[in-house]
């Protein structure tokens, strides 16, 4: 019996790994064809990506980027597990980062108190912003896709309104950059100095902690079980005594709270202020990464690292004379391939299962007929 379970697990593992590997390989093939079509040789391009991507300063860059992307991926994945499509992560993190930056700039308390306050402010803002969509869905049946997209635009407008000199921001550098008041240096998050390779953001540990919490809450608690049940079948969950509405609102709020953390590595480890050129669009990157990682805490981490690796190396490809659009092509193709590959692998797995069950049933049937014959 023990042997049997281990065999099935191996197959599960194989099937689980097959899809992403298939997707990445297919993406590489398509990318190579695209580079060939532009009249260039893909060989040196991939070679350059590898040597450049594995240099130590590139690795620090990738880990720093992946920290942000991982939080985005987890935030989206919480919604996904619940069958909620939280497109509003983008607005949630920007609004959260903005208010956190305003608070951080105004605080004069010591760092050990300021940093948690900034984090709480960010998570609360993200959660509140997401709660609007959650409550609308629960009480009025508004699709969260529509409401979160609209809330993204509203968030942009609110930030634009408040990020003005004389409101919550000030003019800087030759009068062309508007930014919130910079955080005092005591409120900076710790970083790890790796010498010439640059600073590794200490926020990576927070990201890891969030990943562990995500894995534990969803996989090991009653709440996580309820959440996954609602995601798989609302009626079944309701029948087994789970309050579906409460779960929808709660998971939206948690997703928003994690979204609030997305801007924090940049704010606390890098920019120390919110200016008009604070990175945008990471919420959408998070959707791609959650898809790539299959909502699995480790999968999302690998997806985030892959994304960071691609950005770092394709930045350098542009330098080598390849077209800068190649990054978009690779990322787009990977996401498409992932969706297709998972479906292909799922069907293949289903077929294998059916065959196996069929074979076992046939064997059983054969055994019984044999017995009957003997009897």
């Amino acid at each position: 019996m023990n042997k049997l379970t281990s065999r099935i697990d191996k197959e599960r593992l194989f099937l689980g790994l097959a899809a992403p590997v298939l997707a990445v390989v297919a993406a590489l093939v398509v990318t190579a064809m695209v580079i060939l079509a532009t009249g260039k040789n893909p060989g040196p391009a991939f070679n350059d990506m590898l040597t450049y991507g594995f240099a130590s300063d590139s690795q620090v860059y990738i880990l720093n980027k992946a920290t942000t992307y991982y939080l985005a991926g987890v935030s989206v994945a919480i919604g996904f597990r619940m069958n909620l499509f939280n497109i509003g992560v983008d607005g949630q993190y920007r609004l959260a980062a903005f208010f956190a930056a305003v608070l951080g700039g105004a605080l004069t308390v010591p760092g050990w108190l300021a940093v948690p306050l900034i984090l709480i402010c960010a998570m609360a803002t993200g959660a509140l912003w997401a709660a609007i969509a959650g409550i609308l869905k629960v009480t009025r049946g508004v699709s969260e896709v529509i409401s979160t997209i609209m809330l993204n635009s509203i968030a942009t407008a609110i930030i634009a309104y408040l990020l003005q000199p004389g409101k919550l921001a000030q003019l800087q550098q030759g009068g062309t950059v508007v930014a919130t008041k910079p955080l005092p240096s005591s409120s900076h998050f710790f970083g790890i100095n790796t010498g010439p390779a640059g600073d590794l953001w200490g926020f990576i540990f927070v990201a890891v902690a969030v990943g562990i919490a995500y894995w534990f809450v969803l996989g090991r608690t009653r709440f996580g079980y309820d959440l996954r049940t609602v995601g798989q079948s609302e009626s079944a969950a309701a029948a087994s005594g789970v309050s579906v509405k409460k779960m929808i609102a709660t998971s939206m709020i948690i997703s928003g709270a994690v979204a609030g953390l997305i801007g924090m590595p940049t704010l606390l480890n890098d920019s120390y202020q919110f200016s008009s050129d604070f990175p945008t669009g990471i919420g959408f990157t998070g959707i791609a990464i959650a898809l790539l990682g299959r909502n699995n805490p480790i999968g999302i981490a690998l997806g985030a690292l892959l994304w960071g690796f691609l950005e770092r190396t394709t930045n350098h490809l542009e330098f080598q004379g390849y077209d800068k659009e190649i990054l978009g092509v690779i990322q787009g193709v990977i996401v498409l391939c992932v969706v297709i590959a998972y479906e292909v692998v799922r069907r293949y797995g289903l077929k294998r299962q059916q065959q196996k069950v069929g074979a076992e049933l046939a064997a059983q049937a054969a055994a019984t007929t044999k017995k009957q014959e003997v009897a």
């Binding site: 379970t5 980027k65 062309t176 480790i298």
Partner: protein
């Protein structure tokens, strides 16, 4: 069992990462150092880091590109161009500049104010490289800050608008409501009101704050211009990158209305040739002159540094005369220009 498999996968992944991290102790610049000296050849190696949009935006970035092209033609050498993405973080902008510096490009021109913090850092890291930054001011011995007095040029555009309007009603369309574009608005409005206080100025920004699509959405420009025309305005000044193309198209469709272009002399832009009969003038911002001057100074061994303000007096900003539509009011424009240069008129930088 499943748990064990997952755990082992996790261990494997972290171990693999740790190995690559330790095995590759060298930074990318160490890897590059052998190749950086090759490929240079004669002349200046010009590094250009564009803002979002890059070469081909018919406006701001293109103007910088023209300056670099001119320098390349005259001095020989090569241009390396890198372009920003909207999802950029500080790290990306720094990487772009340090890649150029590592490969021996000198000078390096950062086009756009968003490069300011990155230039500050990289100029300190590569003290032997000359950096230029457009539209912002960065301290540093090896940094040339190229800025323009957009408000002065816009003032003249306002004077022209006030003299040309028949309905005493003009409009201003800004791409994004950032401080830079507000300089355009401030100068324009002041120019209009100083010339004729009765003229009404409609002001509209296409997008706000972080949404920078207002610089690259001709459809938004067209809608905004159409709205102003329907509202009774008959001269529309647009400072909105490629969105201005849409505004000019809309103005061309209305009889007797004028458009005022921006950054480049838009009367002479081939892509806008069919609408040029409606382009009264353009507030030209000579980014190309600033970029060219800087490259030339580096080539001559005396790199410019500090804040070089390209003002109306120095020809950094001007009104284009192509088409001859403003010939009749030229004396009045010249008078206004002289007053600004002499300091009799102080143009505001904020509306």
């Amino acid at each position: 069992m499943r748990r064990v498999a997952k755990l082992s996968a996790a261990c494997f992944a972290t171990a693999a990462l740790a190995i690559t991290a330790t095995a590759c102790g060298s930074t990318s610049s160490d890897n590059n150092s052998s190749s950086s000296s090759s490929g240079g050849g004669k002349g200046v190696k010009i590094g250009l880091a564009y803002d979002v949009g890059g070469r081909g935006d018919r406006s701001f970035n293109d103007s910088a590109a023209r300056g670099a092209d001119k320098a390349e033609k005259e001095f020989g050498g090569s241009i390396k161009e890198l372009t920003a993405k909207t999802s950029d973080t500080e790290a990306d902008r720094e990487q772009r500049l340090s890649d150029l510096a590592e490969a021996g490009y000198n000078p390096i021109v950062a086009v756009g104010y968003s490069y300011a913090p990155a230039v500050t850092k990289m100029a300190a890291k590569y003290p032997k490289t000359s950096f230029g930054i457009v539209d912002s001011v960065v301290e540093g011995k090896n940094v040339n800050s190229i800025t323009f007095t957009e408000e002065q040029g816009s003032y003249l555009a306002g004077v022209a608008a006030a003299l040309k309007t028949k309905k005493d009603h003009v409009g201003f369309i800004g791409g994004v409501d950032n401080p830079l574009i507000k300089k355009f608005e401030a100068g324009y409005t002041q120019g209009v009101h100083d010339t004729n206080p009765k003229v009404k100025v409609d002001v509209q920004y296409l997008t706000h704050g972080q949404d920078t699509s207002g610089f690259s959405s001709p459809d938004k420009g067209q809608q905004a211009a159409q709205g102003m025309l329907d509202n009774g305005a008959d001269v529309v000044y647009t400072a909105a990158g490629s969105s201005g193309n849409g505004a000019i198209e809309a103005v061309h469709g209305a009889k007797g209305a004028w458009a005022i272009g921006v950054d480049s002399d838009q009367y002479n832009i081939p892509g806008l040739a069919q609408y040029k009969s409606a382009i009264l003038t353009s507030m030209v911002k000579n980014v190309d002159v600033g970029v060219y001057d800087f490259i030339k100074s580096v080539k001559d061994g005396k790199p410019l540094a500090g804040n070089n303000v390209y003002s109306l007096a120095k020809g950094g900003v001007s009104l284009a005369t192509s088409g001859g539509f403003i010939n009749d009011i030229q004396p009045k424009l010249d008078a206004a220009k002289q007053k600004i240069i002499a300091g009799q008129i102080k143009v505001k930088t904020t509306p």
